[in-house]
């Protein structure tokens, strides 16, 4: 092949690579743009603070926002402590044996399990076996199980990243292992742990399939009074009005999509910011 032809081939190939990148990027921007454009009109104080009326045709989505907020909180309360404890155990205490290997493999694969399977799992365990019923509690536990893969992995990585010298310095002044973990390792690992927790909350806010199975309700004009109540949630509300209930004004549906997207993405951005801030702080040391 002549040099010219090889250059032309390269040009064409790079063109294909760039085109592919654009195919990935442009739809994302278009989707965000369209949701913003169509949804912004529906957003007003009434939409955000009122309960739905006339089968979702009028009124607002306040109970769904509150329900999603409770779910995120519930997921955090359950998945964060368990995730951190598991992370501490796996990095500081667990021996290098087959059990640890098995646990690690299970955690990695936990992340790849389809969300609907978590729904079935939650239905079998929390709703039926523990008799929590179709409730906020069941849904929080189910989402927390799903979030565990993430909180454990991020906690473990954050703890592993704490330099050995810190631990040795602490042990050298006569602290016990637990005191070292508690006062030296965990504070250092905190930003990483929080990043994981925030990401887990963002996932919990957007997840639909599991809560569809274990207790989300369409149109519940009041807020849940206890953890055993059914609840509304933004993603489930979006699913029902978009796929099942005819006659809902388009603007309302786009508005729900916009609110959901803002909630989920703002938590993602928050996680990224925490990560970036800690990185610059480490460098400036």
């Amino acid at each position: 092949m002549t040099m010219v032809r090889r250059q032309v081939t390269q040009r064409a190939a790079f063109g294909f690579l760039i085109a592919s990148t654009l195919i990935v990027v442009i739809p994302v921007l278009v989707i965000i743009g369209i949701i913003l454009f169509n949804g912004a009109g529906a957003i007003n104080l009434e939409f955000l603070t009122q309960a739905p009326s006339q089968a979702g045709k009028a009124g607002g989505i306040f109970p769904a926002i509150v329900g999603t907020f409770y779910l995120m909180l519930g997921t955090l309360i359950i998945a964060l402590p368990v995730g951190v404890m598991a992370g501490v155990y796996l990095t500081e205490y667990a021996g290098d044996n087959w059990l640890t290997k098995l646990i690690n493999m299970a955690i990695i694969n936990l992340a790849g399990v389809p969300s609907i399977i978590y729904g079935l799992f939650g239905l079998g365990i929390f709703v039926m076996t523990f008799n929590f019923g179709m409730s906020l509690l069941s849904a929080s536990f189910t989402l927390a199980c799903q979030a565990l893969a993430m909180t454990i992995t991020t906690s473990r990585e954050a703890i592993l990243a704490v330099p050995r010298e810190y631990r040795e310095g602490s042990l050298a002044i006569g602290t016990t292992k637990w005191q070292t973990v508690r006062h030296v390792v965990l504070p250092q690992a905190m930003p990483g742990i929080i990043t994981g927790a925030v990401l887990a909350m963002s996932r919990a806010a957007g997840e639909t399939a599991p809560i569809l199975v274990v207790g989300a309700a369409f149109l519940l004009p009041r807020l849940p009074h206890s953890v055993f109540d059914q609840f509304m949630a933004l993603p489930y509300h979006l699913y029902t009005v978009a796929a099942h209930v005819p006659g809902i004004p388009d603007a309302t549906i786009w508005g729900i999509a916009l609110v959901l997207l803002v909630v989920v993405l703002s938590f993602n951005v928050m996680a990224t910011l925490i990560r970036l801030r800690t990185r610059t702080r480490r460098y400036s040391l």
């Binding site: 090889r6 250059q7 081939t9 390269q10 190939a13 790079f14 294909f16 690579l17 760039i18 085109a19 592919s20 990148t21 195919i23 990935v24 990027v25 739809p27 994302v28 921007l29 989707i31 965000i32 369209i34 949701i35 493999m105 990695i108 694969n109 790849g112 399990v113 389809p114 969300s115 609907i116 399977i117 729904g119 079935l120 799992f121 239905l123 079998g124 365990i125 039926m128 963002s202 806010a205 957007g206 997840e207 639909t208 399939a209 569809l212 199975v213 993603p235 489930y236 979006l238 699913y239 978009a242 796929a243 549906i253 999509a257 959901l260 997207l261 989920v264 993405l265 993602n268 990224t272």
Partner: protein, 264 residues
Amino acid sequence: MLLFKEGTPIFLDTPPWEFLFGTRWYPVSEPPTFGILPFFVSTLWVTLVATLIAVPVGIACAAYLAEVAPDKVRETVKPIIEILAGFPSVVMGFIGLMLLSPAIKSMFNLNTGLTGLTAGIMLAMMSLPIIVSVSEDALRAVPDSFRQGSYALGATRWETIRHVSIPAALSGIAAAIMLGVGRAIGETMTVLMVAGGALAVPVSPTEPMMPMTAAIASGIGNAVRGGLQYQALFAIGLILFLITLAVNLVADRVLERQKRKFTR
């Protein structure tokens, strides 16, 4: 996770053979029949469509980001891809419903735009982030000395990417593809909303269909707890779980091997 005991009693009623290969799913008729072939074939169709789109595009995008793009472009593109990864699946389903399905309907002159093809395209978008990021990591792990050796032999940058970088990163890219496929198989809300939900065994991607995840999600609300349909749905869940587990385990193995390859 071994609670999938719930799903095995169905095989006392319907032999596994009929359950897997039966073409009729009539859970409420008398007597009920449970054949999951329509769901299984639907899952194959949507996954196939998603893979055909997402794999070439995803690898090309990863190659661009890892090998060609200037730092500035990469730093703009990567957050956008991360945003895509953060999109809730129900939002993607909604977008497919509102924007893509009318386009598909008029493009192929169909009665409905809710088809396996529509779902496949949306799934392709959803599996792209993982394919791009894992492939990009794999390409970045290829030592620079490989590339320099190739340039020294007179190869152009493209020839180096094609004949050196991509082959060297191949196992990582393969793992990326598997993870992407795993995600497409397990995705629920999007296919539930846009695949159309028909119960026949689909023979072409432009038909409405109901993948396994959608079958579980749409049936579980009406199933009597502990009843036959309930058990059958758990059995579908069990099969789905085993498929995704296998895909992820293999991908994990391959990634580990790739990592070891360059740390020597």
